[in-house]
Symmetry: C2
Subunit: 375 residues, 2 copies
DNA sequence: CCCGCATCTGACAACGTTGTCCAGGCTCTA
DNA sequence: TAGAGCCTGGACAACGTTGTCAGATGCGGG
């Protein structure tokens, strides 16, 4: 699908006209080179050769000027620069890459660029890339493992120097040849599956445990957990944190208090309403991520009974709601920055052994988590 | 800065060891090719040549298999595929690009990927790119014209097939050679400066006018406008809309009601507090974009007096605040989608003449805009 | 049995750049 | 004034791929 052959017309050579009598293709009178250009190039950009011709110098001299290499007299340099400006020449980095072996670009595969959690993360990666002279190619996996693989491999085909991946799938064996070939790789937010790779995580377990413990400390015992699909590492870890906090407090967890699944509003809404109704409704909810929190806030706003809430991930304006939403905040930008920095250290050669880095989370109390149980 | 020469080591040929006595460089015994590989390639990826050798076929046959071209017997194909898997071969798209002339990638230059307005826009562009078999390279200009130019030109050097640009600067003459060379280009959110190019905008003028008229309709006459820097097209247009609405209502605008500048919280906060104090404070505020709205909401929450508010751009959870925030919503995803689609139609050749497309905005009333003036 | 044709395969050049190496001209010194 | 050494510039190959074209092989028909 992402294969360039299936793309908008990668313009193939124009079919040659055919001689009616012989059935043979007629090679036009134009020189072969001009012909090829007309056929495959639509823009016909000037090359160093053109610049050299116009400036009356050798090819390599142009290259020297373009790359600021020494050994060119000011006068020659002026002539070359003039030709460059006149022709609107711009170096073709594809050719350069082919020659040099590095692309000075890195790839970032995440779930959804539109998610407010990934925007800052992506931006942070970009800033680090920029500081290291590299460009960033993004792709959204839409939480689909196949799409993740497709994207990652497409990026490898582009010969990105490194990859920052927020994995959707749980098997990354397919990356082995690439890793072996020297593609630097760092996983973020969730660990890689079945391969040994660098990974930068938030302390999902600890954060969730603290958040739930916070609710328990405020007197809650019937606490609901609404999270993402259990196959997603962060969701599983946060659930584990929830269970741990409950166990620490000696509260037996009931099955109906936990709901894992896709985070679209309908599902979350149903889950929340279920927990909030019935004979022994929960008095507090722990929301497993920003998407869930937003929907739960909506549901609670419609509810008469005051229900406590702690959410994982900070959300904008959380402080202005009534009550303010208490959250376990993770620092998306720090995740991205840390991952990208490790990536470039891999590229330096400074970093060799894969490591697992865990960044702390921070409980931000704003009111919703401090509501007492209203039975 | 983005020039690859200044990047993390684009590994140059390793400096040859020098003979102490003669001062000459010693060329090692190893073959030239092996030497080169060790020096410039860190990964030494297999190429089609290697695959061909291993499979015992010709180079072109491998190419045929890799690209799914016809004319290869199943048996040959099997052998080739086996070699590919065994070696972990992956086609080098840089070389492919060099040969074919198109990169199947497009560039997106925007202000800040971390801004919740640009996330969805970027994602929409990505989806269209994906549907057309292209990858997306993003860059954030951070609202700096130089950085915008640097990014755009770096993307052109990578030979992206097209560019979607949210301009930071107001002079895009520098793009002329690129346009002439056939780089498809669409500007979004703000028009290009000094060149004739496709552009997709929201109806900033009309949206702001409607929003302000809405406040006027609810009895306000002293209405403040807090917006972005006036050199930014959207800011200027929205201010124009504000003025128009006021003029339509026959309300003379006072200088102190208008504040344009950077949208960081401190500046906006000062501006808002100024308007809200003094002898004739404003009774309503029109916030020029999402950043401004968020800060103004905060300021108003601290204020005793009820002040009406309409903001440009929708913001998450705006409906859950007390009162809900009335906004003039623009559809960021639609902007991105429309722009990207036009881009690919340019690449098709379907589209030739530059056009200016304006997407409508939508007033969403939620309460804050319907508060009566509290003098 | 051989020719013609179709099918499959491979040699080769070209894409635009950069690294290597050599040539020519200059300056400087003996 | 000649030789040595330096500086500048250019010819050439190579990066890994794809398009062209021609050669090889196999098969059927005359």
């Amino acid at each position: 699908m992402l294969d360039a052959t299936s793309s908008y017309k990668i313009m193939d050579a124009a079919p040659l006209p055919v001689d009616d009598r012989t059935g043979r293709r007629i090679v036009p009178e134009t020189t072969r080179r001009a012909d090829r250009i007309a056929a495959t190039r639509y823009g016909n950009r000037p090359t160093m050769k053109d610049v050299a011709a116009r400036a009356g110098v050798g090819l390599k001299t142009v290259s020297r000027v373009v790359n600021g290499e020494p050994g060119v007299t000011p006068e020659t340099e002026r002539r070359v620069q003039e030709a460059i400006d006149a022709l609107g020449f711009r170096r073709n980095d594809s050719a350069r890459v082919l020659r040099k072996g590095r692309t000075a670009s890195i790839g970032l595969v995440l779930e959804d660029l539109a998610d407010p959690f990934y925007g800052p993360l992506s931006r942070a990666v970009e800033e680090v890339a920029r500081a290291n002279g590299a460009l960033l190619i993004n792709g959204s996996s839409a939480e689909d493992p196949d799409r993740e693989q497709e994207l990652v491999l497409a990026l490898c085909a582009r010969r990105v120097d490194g990859l920052v991946v927020i994995p959707a799938g749980d098997n990354h064996r397919y990356l082995e040849p690439e890793l072996k070939a020297g593609v630097a790789t760092v996983f973020v937010d969730r660990p890689a599956g079945q391969i040994d790779a660098d990974v930068v995580l938030s302390d999902n377990y600890g954060g969730a445990r603290d958040g739930v413990a916070h609710l328990i400390a405020h007197g809650h015992r019937r606490i609901g957990f609404i999270g993402d699909m259990p196959r997603i590492h962060t969701a599983a870890e946060r659930l584990r944190g929830y269970r741990a906090a409950m166990e620490d407090a000696g509260i037996p967890v009931e099955e109906k208090w936990m709901s894992l699944g896709v985070t679209d509003p309908e599902r979350v809404r149903r889950a929340a309403e279920e927990m909030l109704s019935g004979p022994d409704p929960v008095t507090a909810v722990f929301a497993g991520n920003n998407r869930v929190t937003v929907t739960v806030v909506r549901v609670l706003a419609e509810h008469a009974r005051r229900v406590a809430l702690v959410g994982f991930d900070d959300i904008e304006l959380a402080d202005l709601l009534q009550p303010g939403v208490t959250v376990v905040a993770q620092d998306a930008a720090a995740l991205g920055r840390t991952a990208a920095e490790r990536l470039f250290r891999q590229l330096d050669g400074t970093l060799v052994t894969p490591e697992r880095i865990e960044l702390p989370t921070r409980l931000i109390t704003r009111g919703s988590g401090e509501l007492p149980p209203a039975d």
